[in-house]
Symmetry: C2
Subunit: 123 residues, 2 copies
């Protein structure tokens, strides 16, 4: 806290994909940025957390069992707790995420992209 | 929840200033949009809530007792709980706010801009 954070600058500080970076924290929630590319996110569920996907650049498909939505730049979508979902980026996508501190980004599912702990950007 | 929300479209749905509109809710937090114009926000404090100001368009000065920061489009600033502050838009500013549901936007201070309850946009 206590600093002005520029979202574009944050994305210049890392290049890896599917590895959310903490850029802010408030009221027990993290603000994260992440780069996504490729169909790598498994179906998973957050039992106790709602999750917000805010597209900064690119196009993101969000799939739930009974629906699919397409989220464009400048748009967000909230996946409700308990809803099985996965996301599929169309090409390279830059996202901002809002979610409770301590969330496991692939739920109880573990795959090659799963991170036990998020990095914190020195913004 | 359950809908894709376009931030630009949200701003086309209202024209009043200093009246935050709820456009999303997750984990006990509101996502709000607000238009600000003029030096109208009083000094105030949120004792138990951190508050995030994300500038969508325009330039916002955030004043704390011992500092002043300028927040440009694509940037955010978090005011920590317990910190007396006020915001001064440079011209017309469009903001996205992220803060706990139930927050009083001018703290315990009541002025002409104070809203007891936020409107909810039909996004």
């Amino acid at each position: 806290m206590g600093k002005v954070v520029n979202i574009s600058q944050c994305f210049k500080m890392f290049s890896d994909t599917f590895s959310p970076k903490i850029i802010g924290e408030l009221n027990g929630q993290y603000i994260l940025v992440v780069r996504c590319e490729g169909d790598k996110v498994p179906w998973h569920t957050h039992e106790n957390e709602d999750e917000m996907f805010f597209v900064i650049e690119g196009v993101l498909d969000v799939l739930e069992k009974d629906k699919k939505v397409t989220v464009n730049s400048g748009e967000f979508y909230i996946v409700s707790r308990g809803t099985e979902h996965r996301v599929v980026p169309q090409g390279l996508v830059k996202l901002m995420l809002f979610e409770p501190a301590g969330i496991a980004h692939t739920g109880e599912v573990r795959t090659e992209i799963t991170k036990k702990k998020f990095d914190r950007l020195d913004v």
